[in-house]
């Protein structure tokens, strides 16, 4: 009885995959869960495991070959075996793909630019290919390599640059500034060509901005209580998990809780109807040192505690930096958070990622004078203050709803027993 192994579904928009390498050979015994082969799509490279056990009797799509999703790539179980006959020859080997005798080796026809960068730095063939395929800025890479003192630009350097340029469809970038109109002739100095990623992202942003009536609302939030919890738990958290606890997981947690009462902000709008999402899949935008934004998705965020969210977000960031995000990691967001606080800005009006209907922004959180009411009277005291804003799609709901959501969010952030929630985990 034979089972077929098919090219699995690799992501929503992925139609085919290229098998890079087979870990098993014909004749090998396979157990469920064994790594079978490695497949590359235009987004990710992943290992595919066996879901059946048995003897691998046939490989139909070999290394280097491409198969459509759903296509049979191998057979497990009793197929034709090599030792069926006692007197016959070996079974006819599958004939090799036809090649012209004058093309015994298939020389690639692609060209990926010159072997040296603008400053004369050498680039490996892999680097050259990746630069062109991902539309990266060669001049910038060359400068960067120079700065590092590297003797060439290799695949690792380019892959690092790709990760920081990777933008999912749900990425909320900084606000677009209207183009400056000037009558005076502008002296051209450095021309920075946008790479493909940036161009594509730009197009999406423009489309969102053009079609969605954005309204921005902001509310001031007192983060002092959260800050206290952070400070007291800092060392223990660092020791337990190997990274530091930031404000972001608290905001993410509060957002999930607030959405329970205001489900319309966690919905998809197709122009006619608002489809409330069952789960909260938070797209958490993280700025990466001026080199772009990455927005991994934490699925079912609503099920996590603060610590859980901290870990989940961190995991996604690590995966992003290692180039290991799967298609699932980059899609399916229902609401987004844009974290812009690194440089001390007061507020940011982010652009919504259709078909979501809202996006939260948090900026710098710092000590500010604030009025604190006590039984003894009102006093001015230094408190950790930050502005939390939301851009929302005014077609989906109106300002009162949004404001009520933000108010609820503020209340959760300021009054929830964060210490209690954390101490049960740490």
């Amino acid at each position: 009885m034979a089972s077929t192994i098919i090219m699995p579904q690799l992501g929503e928009t992925v139609a085919e995959g290229k098998i890079l390498v087979w870990f098993k050979s014909v004749g090998d015994e396979i157990k469920e869960g064994d790594d079978l082969f490695e497949v590359e799509t235009d987004k990710v490279t992943i290992e595919v495991q066996a879901i059946v056990a048995g003897r691998l009797s046939e490989i139909r799509v070999g290394p280097g070959a491409t198969a459509k999703v759903g296509e049979v790539v191998a057979v497990v179980g009793d197929g034709a075996t090599a030792n069926a006959s006692t007197r016959g020859d070996a079974p006819a080997a599958k004939s090799a793909p036809w090649r012209s005798p004058f093309e015994e080796v298939s020389t690639p026809t692609d060209r990926f630019g010159p072997a040296k960068g603008p400053n004369g730095i050498h680039m490996t063939p892999l680097a050259r290919r990746l630069i062109v395929q991902h539309g990266l800025d060669l001049a910038m890479l060359a400068k960067e390599a120079d700065r590092r003192g590297a003797k060439n630009i290799d695949g690792a350097a380019v892959r690092a640059a790709i990760e920081t340029h990777l933008a999912s469809p749900a990425a909320p970038p900084a606000a677009v500034e209207p183009p400056i109109r000037s009558e005076l002739p502008v002296q051209e100095s450095d021309v920075i060509t946008l790479n493909t990623m940036r161009r594509k992202t730009g197009e999406r942003l423009a489309e969102s901005w053009r079609t969605i009536p954005h309204v921005f609302q902001a509310i001031e939030v007192d983060f002092t209580a959260i800050d206290l919890v952070r400070k007291t738990r800092k060392a223990a958290f660092q020791k337990a998990y190997g990274f530091s606890l930031t404000y972001l997981p608290f905001v993410a947690r509060a957002t999930c809780l607030a959405i329970v009462a205001f489900p319309q902000v966690n919905a998809r709008f197709d122009g006619n109807a608002l489809a409330l999402s069952q789960d909260v899949n938070l797209g958490v935008a993280v700025d990466l040192d001026h080199n772009g934004v990455i927005v991994p998705v934490v699925r079912e965020s609503g099920d996590f505690t603060v610590i859980g969210l901290a870990k989940a977000i961190r995991r996604q960031i690590d995966k992003a930096r290692a180039g290991k995000l799967s298609p699932d990691d980059l899609s399916g967001a229902t609401y987004s958070i844009s974290n812009n606080g690194a440089f001390g800005t007061s507020f940011t009006t982010p652009i919504i990622n259709a078909p979501q209907v809202g996006i939260l922004s948090i900026d710098a959180i710092g000590l500010k004078p604030a009025v604190v009411s006590t039984p003894e009277g009102d006093f001015v005291a230094p408190r950790m203050i930050g502005i939390v804003g939301q851009s929302f799609d005014h077609r989906a709901f109106d300002g009162a709803y949004s404001a009520a959501f933000l108010s609820r969010l503020k209340q959760i952030l300021e009054t929830r027993d964060w210490a209690g929630e954390i101490s049960s985990d740490l």
């Binding site: 070999g62 020859d89 080997a93 004939s95 090799a96 793909p97 090649r99 005798p101 015994e104």
Partner: protein
């Protein structure tokens, strides 16, 4: 023990004809057809319709014919690059042979092998071999197979005097002798190793016959231009092999009328030598033999005329045949018909 015999059949043979008229006519026909075909090859070469090289057997037809008629279906021939005669003698068609020389699609191997590698498994010709001596051990292997499987066919291996000095000759003779293989080694001593008289390069006078003893074999030296002598010797050797008596080494004295190959005008021959041998031209000899046995001149003429007609028909068929299709370039490197060395 066949020694050199006189050209005219002795009285006792005429009365007790062990060969028989049918076979004699066949022996004559085969020699004549070989001669006419080879002469046609000569002409076609001059007309540049045969390319490369060609090694003709003109003057050596009796050996090929004698063995060809003596061998049974299933007995296997292994030839040298001078193998046209032997291939025809086993029944391969003229157009197959000439076509191969002309490198046309009608050729025995569709032009893949050329003059030096004539092969027709259908007629039990298991290849013609261009590396001197290479096929002697191969013939041993074919004979080993017969011995192992208990099959009754005999492998016959044809080669020239020059072969007797190459290593493979000695390995094969020893090998065949110690395993008592059903193989017959036939040395056509045409007195020249390519352009050099064989005597100058061989330690013994008779390059094959004088070496038989080194392998525990009988010394057999015969007149290679008398088809009857060849035939009888062949029969005896074949029968001995078939009965498990082991191998034989037979040296046939003969002479080639042309050069070593088409490229060779054979100016190295001493004056008068060719003329002497022309008197003992195998076809002249055999024509006389047939007359001795009372065959009517008309019968003889008819055979010769028929041969010439066959050559004409074959030549026209070859000229009309296209060159092989280009797909053959990469065909049959491997058993699957292809040539793939990689996936």
């Amino acid at each position: 023990m066949a020694g050199l015999k006189a050209a005219t059949a002795p009285r006792d043979e005429l009365q007790n004809d062990d060969i028989g008229l049918d076979r004699r006519l066949e022996l004559f026909r085969v020699q004549v057809e070989i001669r006419d075909c080879e002469k046609r090859a000569y002409d076609l070469f001059l007309q540049n319709m045969i390319k490369g090289t060609s090694h003709l057997s003109i003057g050596q037809e009796a050996v090929a014919a004698g063995f060809g008629v003596a061998m049974r279906k299933g007995d296997k021939s292994f030839c040298t690059y001078r193998g046209h005669a032997h291939t025809l003698a086993r029944g391969a068609s003229m157009e197959g042979m000439l076509g191969e020389l002309m490198l046309r699609d009608i050729g025995l191997m569709r032009g893949k092998g050329g003059s030096m590698h004539l092969t027709s498994v259908e007629h039990d010709v298991f290849g013609s071999y261009a590396i001197v001596g290479a096929h002697l051990p191969i013939a041993c292997g074919a004979a080993w197979r017969a011995q192992y499987l208990g099959e009754k066919d005999v492998s016959v291996c044809f080669f020239g005097d020059g072969t007797t000095n190459i290593g493979a000759f000695h390995e094969a003779l020893n090998f065949a002798a110690i395993w008592r293989l059903p193989v017959v080694f036939v040395c056509e001593n045409n007195l020249y190793m390519e352009y050099t008289p064989i005597g100058e390069v061989t330690a013994v006078k008779h390059p094959a016959a004088d070496r038989a003893a080194a392998y525990g074999l009988e010394r057999i030296l015969i007149d290679g231009n008398d088809a009857d002598v060849v035939y009888r010797t062949a029969l005896a050797a074949l029968e001995k092999a078939r009965d498990g008596g082991g191998p034989s080494l037979i040296e046939c004295l003969t002479y080639r009328h042309s050069g070593h190959s088409r490229a060779d005008p054979a100016k190295y021959r001493p004056p008068g030598e060719l003329e002497e041998w022309l008197k003992r031209d195998p076809i002249v000899v055999y024509r006389g033999r047939l007359r001795d046995f009372g065959v009517a001149p008309e019968t003889i003429d008819a055979i010769e005329a028929q041969s010439k007609r066959k050559v004409e028909v074959a030549t026209e068929a070859c000229k009309a045949s296209p060159p092989a299709p280009v797909e053959l370039l990469t065909k049959d490197v491997y058993a699957d018909g292809g040539w793939a060395w990689r996936n």
